[in-house]
Symmetry: C2
Subunit: 152 residues, 2 copies
Amino acid sequence: MIQLDEIDHALLRALSRDATQTAGALGRELGLSQPAAWRRIRRLQEAGIITGRKLDLDAGKLGFGVTVFLGIKLATKGRVSLEDFERAVSAIPEVQTVEHILGMYDYRLRVTARDIADFERVLRRRVMTLPGVGSVDANVLLSEERRPGPLG
Amino acid sequence: MIQLDEIDHALLRALSRDATQTAGALGRELGLSQPAAWRRIRRLQEAGIITGRKLDLDAGKLGFGVTVFLGIKLATKGRVSLEDFERAVSAIPEVQTVEHILGMYDYRLRVTARDIADFERVLRRRVMTLPGVGSVDANVLLSEERRPGPLG
DNA sequence: TTTGAAAAGTGATAACA
DNA sequence: TGTTATCACTTTTCAAA
């Protein structure tokens, strides 16, 4: 595992807030030359710490006003059924996140839909028919705050 | 609300996979000139559809090997206690996501820690002492898959 | 209006001290 | 690591469909 110093952490913190910042601007902020900052960022990528950059989209403005978290318990938990379940769930376009978890649920899904009627369609036609599903609990997203966490 | 055509959706789909792609490369892929692709991307930003670009970090490589989802029910649910709770939870650095939800839980937190011992510290010292907390359920993240969803 | 071509400005990447 | 140099991308301008 690669060793990171204060400056690396400051870079990660700054980029966690806004990944569009240029190496030059970050260097200026941290008292580094532009190529020095750039090389550190590349090092973080090559070490696999920065794995990519993703868009932040406003789902509501794209017509997807409903986000629901589903907690799923499987009925049968053999290895085969886990793989079957994961393959099937990956084919549902409305599923944004599949989390395999340990605890009171086996899987947690983040599902987005245009409205409640659209969500009901996804739930009945796609989710309830997934192979091995035992029970499904739902929570509707009201608001969300993402924080940098201790990583950056 | 802004009207999007096929090309805009293709751009969003491509950028959802990898937000580092250049306007020139995207234009070539979609049969558009470089400035045309660039202007469309800028339009999506100005319309508030693209709200930013965030880093994808490998928490494990940064020494945070444990991610836990907490489902929290509040004991008292007045407006004041929601705000108190949110303010207090935002001050915990290990919390990466705060989701206000409707259903069997009131809040869902994504918490990351170095190991189980570290997580226990966060849970006992920070989470259990949050104002208004009724009960806390936990699920440990085993693996996670993020998908573009229907947005892009 | 949205497009493509061209040009100017800025950042990314490489070579080198 | 910083300096310099080059190349690529971004951003603006402008003219045409």
